[in-house]
């Protein structure tokens, strides 16, 4: 079985350890993982701005690069959703699309539904605030959201819940948007920052030590605010927690690549 690792561009460039942790998890599960290095970006920033012409060639490249794999796994709900829910707007006539969409998984979804791994041997003795990313929640349905009255398994939380010593803090607004929203963060800066500050405050009020999310983009925005405020809150991607990384409370250093910690 060949697994293609789909690493969003900003993770590749700014958070390589998230990709390394993802790789460790998949390889630790005995999977053969490849990283097609000609991949760049799935085109989400362009598509979300409405510039489909600019996004189209990127979606087409994605299909070329990832078609050979049995599974395509990505440590981001938002980029996974781009492939699964929005590529049809761009390359809907490509005969490979449907099959690729059905083979593309967000990491937690993959570890929950397709290739379960036991994390009960892991330890993470920290109070965790789980930031549910909107695209993970409402586009990929990685869990039930507070608007719909539908019970759904919470895939991110249930993976983390296996880890020893990890306790969840309860937020006032369990699934409020962090305000990142891609180009929204810059285009609507005032709203974006207000949303992010409120999100951080909810975690602080709940007594979280580490804010964990399955989308590094939300965390990039929230960490930017945490760091500016000097708040005592670390941020980690769920892959880093599951791969056995420790939080660095000095948030500025929390995402330095550390390798070799295979589960």
């Amino acid at each position: 079985m060949r697994v293609g690792l789909f690493v969003p561009c900003y993770i590749d460039q700014m958070y390589p350890d998230v990709a390394v942790a993802t790789l460790e998890l998949l390889e630790g599960a005995g999977l053969k993982v490849e990283f097609p290095a000609a991949q760049t970006c799935c085109g989400q920033p362009m598509a979300n701005t409405g510039c489909n012409d600019a996004a189209r060639p990127l979606a087409a490249r994605f299909l070329d690069l990832f078609d050979p794999f049995d599974y395509i796994v990505c440590p981001s709900g938002s980029c996974t959703s781009m492939v699964r829910n929005h590529f049809s707007d761009l390359v809907g006539n490509d005969p490979r699309l449907k099959s690729i969409q059905s083979r593309t998984f967000e990491l937690c979804e993959f570890l929950h539904d397709v290739h379960p791994i036991d994390f009960s041997g892991n330890r993470f003795p920290f109070r965790v605030g789980l930031h549910q990313s909107c695209h993970g929640l409402r586009e990929l349905r990685l869990g039930g959201d507070s608007e719909q009255m539908i019970e759904r398994p919470d895939k991110v939380r249930s993976l983390l819940a296996q880890v020893q010593g990890l306790s969840f803090v309860e937020l006032q607004r369990v699934d409020e948007c962090c305000g990142f929203g891609g180009t929204f963060a810059v285009n609507e800066r005032a709203v974006s920052v207000a949303m992010g500050e409120d999100r951080v405050q909810d975690h602080l009020d709940a007594g979280a030590e580490v804010m964990v999310a399955s989308d590094m983009s939300c965390l990039m925005h929230l960490w930017g605010l945490i760091s500016r405020q000097g708040s005592p809150l670390a941020v980690m991607h769920v892959a880093q927690v599951l791969a056995g990384r420790s939080p660095t409370v000095s948030v500025k250093n929390s995402i330095k690549p550390k390798t070799g910690n295979a589960v």
Binding site: V7, I11, D12, Q13, M14, Y15, P16, D17, A19, F35, P36, A37, A38, T40, C41, P45, M46, N48, T49, G50, C51, N52, A54, A55, L58, R61, L65, C134, H135, R138, D145, E147, Q148, M149, C177, F180, G181, T183, F184, A185, V186, E188, R189, A190, V191, S192, V193, A194, M195, D198, W223, G224, S227, R228, K252, N253, I255, K256, P257, T259
Partner: protein
């Protein structure tokens, strides 16, 4: 020609008063929480939503026939039925009816349609006094403002400010802010207006084709007074307010109040089936762009909106930026779908006033895929060339960069290096709106692709400069 008003600037101005923005957010979150509790109390909630959405889809698909059926049945009950193609026609029809009565005093209960058509200024220009009788709308009217929310028109105003307004216009005690005292003052004031009025105007929540009757939902009973005291009642409705059968109503009244305010049902759900003896009942059916939305495959389902306001209460952008930042009669997610349909250029920033969190779509009782429609609007706005050149150019440049992995890797390496070495003032300034309030991530020494080459392929690369990684693709 309409001026273009941009949401980001208006939102920033509102948020500059952080305590007010927080207070507004909290007030609406409270309503949303009530809605959640109410929705939870019905095990069949999602089934109701599906049914409502199907009824509306059916109605919109068969709108011409259903409208004709309604007209015939309403006329058979002695109702005068009028048709208006647009806002102008609607206003003229209403003014004409008022004039025929030689009337000069009109009371009006809440109706977003008359707001959309700007009826009040039209009647006032014709020498008619129009008094909004919904308490929130009356407050807004006295202050010379517009409603900031379709269900809670004065949600942006604090009770102390209401006290100031009433002191000025109703002669209440200066400094008073006790809601009970202020409400009582408003009630006395409105009572005299009700008694003097010669014509009452109401909106319509649901019109039933099968019976020719219609339903008006309020919490204050003001529509009932306005419809019952004067001799003439004019009900104004958009053509999408139809439902086919009386039994369908049960689905919508259960959803409406729960979604809007978290009540099991509105305090007054009043049915009107024809004029009282010796009185007149008029219905004005208004298109004003609705047929055009009906013709579009992308936005048709937006006509199913029952104006509950739940999408506004849940929208994290609306809650923080206030309803006036949308500069549109209907603000929030549904307004950002409907307003560009009326004037794309003027409202081109609204589909971008959204983080695409999708909460509106999941909260909507008739399952309008609001955030998907906002994304579709972005595509249409870009395709119509209504995006600022700076944006389209940036997107095109990004696309070119991402199509060339080698250049992308090089640019990434240079960017990270620059972030590490450049003086702070070069990185954090006006040219970088991200960094005004947020730190940029600490750039790592190498990218993942570089790490992969070293650790998985054994080829160490001098990051970025002599990158061979493009060749290592598939």
């Amino acid at each position: 020609m309409a001026t273009v008003s941009e949401h980001p600037e208006k939102a920033a101005a509102y948020i500059a008063d952080r305590s007010r923005s927080r207070w507004h957010d909290g007030a609406l979150w409270f309503v949303r929480s009530k809605r959640d509790r109410m929705a939870h109390s019905l095990p069949e909630w999602e089934q109701l939503r599906s049914t409502a959405s199907q009824i509306k889809a059916h109605t919109i698909a068969n709108l011409p026939e259903i409208l004709q059926q309604f007209e015939a049945n309403a006329k058979a009950r002695g109702v005068h039925v009028h048709w208006a193609a647009d806002a102008q026609e609607h206003n003229e029809i209403v003014l004409e009816i008022v004039r025929k009565q030689n009337a000069t005093r009109v009371v009006k209960s809440k109706s977003m349609l008359t707001e959309e058509c700007h009826l009040n200024p039209h009647l006032e220009a014709g020498g008619i006094e129009v008094i909004d009788t919904d308490l929130g709308e009356r407050i807004v009217q006295m202050r010379g403002e517009r409603p900031s929310h379709i269900v809670l028109p004065a949600i942006h105003i604090k009770k102390e400010e209401v006290g100031e307004t009433f002191a000025k216009y109703l002669g209440t005690e200066p400094g008073a802010s006790d809601p009970q005292y202020l409400t009582e003052a408003a009630r006395q004031h409105l009572r005299s207006k009700f008694l003097e009025a010669e014509v009452g105007i109401t909106g319509v929540n649901f019109a039933i084709a099968e019976t020719g009757g219609f339903v008006v939902c309020t919490n204050e009973g003001n529509a009932d007074l306005g419809a019952s005291l004067p001799r003439v009642h004019i009900a104004c409705m958009g053509i999408e307010k139809l439902i086919p059968r009386l039994v369908d109503l049960s689905v919508f009244v259960r959803l409406l109040a729960r979604s809007a305010t978290g009540q099991p049902i509105t305090t007054y759900t009043s049915h009107f089936h024809g004029p009282r003896p010796g009185c007149e009942l008029h219905i004005v059916l208004v298109d004003n762009g609705r047929s055009r939305i009906r013709d579009s495959d992308e936005f048709r389902s937006a006509l199913g909106c029952i104006r509950c306001g739940a999408c506004m209460n849940t929208c994290p952008v609306f809650r923080r930026s206030g309803g006036h930042s949308y500069d549109a009669v209907v603000p929030g997610p549904i307004g950002s779908v409907l307003s560009p349909a009326a004037d794309t250029k003027q409202h081109r920033s609204l589909p971008y006033a959204c983080s695409l969190c999708g909460s509106c779509t999941d909260v909507c009782p008739v399952k309008i895929p609001l955030h998907h429609q906002l994304l579709t609007w972005r595509q249409q706005i870009a395709a119509q060339g209504l995006l600022p050149v700076s944006k389209t150019a940036a997107m095109r440049a990004g696309s070119m960069l991402f199509q060339h992995p080698r250049i992308y890797a090089l640019a990434g390496a240079l960017g990270r290096r620059a972030l590490r070495w450049l003086p702070k003032s070069w990185v954090y300034n006006r040219a970088n709106p991200w960094g005004l309030d947020r730190d940029l991530p600490e750039p790592p020494a190498e990218s993942f692709r570089s790490w992969w080459q070293t650790n998985r392929q054994g080829t160490s690369v001098d990051e970025g400069m002599k990158s061979k990684e493009a060749k290592n693709g598939k």
